[in-house]
Symmetry: C2
Subunit: 365 residues, 2 copies
């Protein structure tokens, strides 16, 4: 029996085989041919390595080769299926490239993110894929400048130099607003997520723009909310419905926001979609089994992760900086029951094809 033994070193194998460590190293690394090691010697070394259960120490190898084979991944909440899906695709990509993933959870806390990034750098990760908390990017810019390539996913920063992969937030928001406009809605309440983050602000701006385009003044667009959570959705929707009883539709910026809004609507005695239309950014798994299936814009989370993985892989393999700074992944509009039918008394209005839509660039390839 040759149970693998973590304490057996290359030296032990070499000794057992009666060769030097350098020979053993060469024999085991397939450099046999290249380094002109005799077949018999190579076999002997391999045989002894097997017998002793030799497992090369990757820490030592990394130290010497200056290549850790590690990729750092930082997300605000691993338990969130959205980030979990991204982590999965990135992990898969890394493993295909022979790298392992060091996963860290920032818990939506910027300071923690800073610490974690430093820690990962100390472990000499070769690259960093980060879904940042989103308020500050100096630590990421610094890491990138210091030679650890950084790719940012989901949330990002309006300026700066980091390659960023996001969904087409603007296109998606615009599409949802257009949909509501088609149905005759004009007073649309916005249940936003976390202000200051790029996805939130992009969606908000796009929504306002789309409304402004049909003459709805910005003051006539009630907005509330302070996070992508159900709680924020509930509280802000409740407030919105109380303050502005004239809203006929709600646009929630996340599914938790939408579920919160659903609760608030129910408590306010407004049934969806009859007394209130509801649309949301992000789809919910098994949405078809909901009591009120939600009209939504689905992000292609896997593609988000894959794109990040590809951008990182290219950066790592070629050593060249990324081709672009922004990679925008298209979203998918799904009309379902929650947005209801045309508002009574509304003149039908056909959807004007959005200029953005055709711009939504896919990932390379």
């Amino acid at each position: 029996m040759s149970a693998s033994n973590l304490t057996v070193t290359l030296g032990d194998v070499a000794a057992a085989a009666g060769v030097s460590v350098s020979t053993a190293s060469r024999a085991l690394n397939g450099n046999a041919k290249a380094c002109r090691i005799s077949a018999t010697t190579a076999d002997r070394v391999r045989e002894h390595a097997r017998r002793l259960g030799f497992r090369p120490n990757l820490l030592a190898r990394s130290l010497q080769s200056r290549r850790s084979g590690l990729l750092g991944v930082v997300v605000p909440d691993v338990a969130n299926p959205f980030f979990a899906a991204i982590a999965k695709e990135v992990t898969r990509g890394a493993e295909e490239a022979g790298r392992s993933v060091l996963l860290a959870d920032s818990g939506e806390c910027n300071e923690r993110e800073v610490t974690l990034v430093a820690e990962l750098q100390a472990r000499r990760v070769e690259g960093l894929v980060v879904c940042p908390v989103g308020v500050d990017s100096t630590h990421l810019e610094a890491a990138n400048a210091a030679g650890t390539p950084v790719v940012v996913v989901d949330r990002g920063f309006r300026d700066g130099s980091l390659p960023t992969v996001t969904s087409d937030h603007r296109g998606g928001a615009e599409r949802l607003i257009e949909h509501l406009l088609e149905l005759g809605h004009r007073t649309i309440g916005i249940v936003q997520g976390r202000p200051g983050t790029l996805p939130n602000d992009d969606r908000l701006r796009a929504a306002r723009d789309a409304l402004a385009a049909v003459g709805v003044s910005i003051d006539d667009v009630p907005v509330a909310g302070n996070g992508f959570t159900e709680r924020s959705g509930y509280e802000s929707a409740a407030r919105l419905l109380a303050d502005r009883p004239d809203v006929t539709a709600l646009f929630a910026f996340s599914t938790p926001n939408a579920f919160g809004a659903l609760r608030a609507a129910a408590e306010a005695g407004r049934s969806v979609p009859n007394d209130l239309a509801l649309v949301c950014f992000d789809d919910v798994p098994h949405g078809e089994f909901l009591r009120v299936p939600l009209t939504a814009v689905a992000q292609d989370v896997r593609r988000l992760g894959q794109t990040a993985a590809e951008v990182m892989a290219e950066r790592l393999e070629t050593g060249r900086p990324p081709r672009r700074r922004r990679y925008t992944v298209p979203v998918r509009f799904i009309a379902r029951a929650s947005s209801g039918g045309p508002l009574p008394g509304a003149e039908p209005r056909s959807r004007r094809r959005s200029s953005r839509e055709s711009l939504a660039a896919g990932a390379p390839r």
Copy 2:
């Protein structure tokens, strides 16, 4: 400006400060006092370290100290919220203990799991938390024996020596069956998950036992299914409903299984809960917004992960083997609409308090 610079070594700092590397090392590791380094020297070293942006190379430190500070985590599918939640808790626990997590995704493939475990061992992880694919454990037993402590979560192995953290599968299954029995059901179809895995087989056995206890012969319990997926749920439920039109209730072993069964029921023209009761193991987030809220047994996923983290932490900190081999986390029964009301013509039957229930042991502390 002192941008952190990954290429600055301890030697550089020492040179700049005009001391030897050992002095520099001691000054920076807080061993100043213990090693009687003069305060001024220590300060000078620290100052230069800061100025140069020195970041200690953890790979080198790990190699020398023989402590990688790494914990390996292997799950069948990171994108699955269940495993993501476990990964999160374990990650949190590891980070609290100053360790980083190497995350790997086995993709439900046993061979891949074997490879990944070997890879993680090569990276000298100090411990391994694994949600195994579940068919073979020799590689895990080997790792454990070779000195890398292994903790198994969710799926596990009936025999072997690995400490295992699971939900109370038997108690949960028994509870659901009891519930259906109370409502008067006697012909209950089982939409199982992946046969051969411990959770599946434990649930199946408990369900059969509970039915046998009221005189339902094992041949009268139709069972179908080959995975925890929606597809398996759909196909097996369809088959079950076709072959045994007399079933009045279905017990799905996972939420995807349940959603599949829901589709199959709809296609078979049986509405839930009126023409067919449905219960399932595992809860679904936002279950209250489903058209037919599902009666379920919810696993305490976070506690599953926390327990695994604790068991691992204790093992790592004390060096002692775990106190027990099985850690069973209680589940929570939630009655909702999908199981319907009492079956017409069924004599009411009060629930016999299960012997298992009181046995469901919590995690230590």
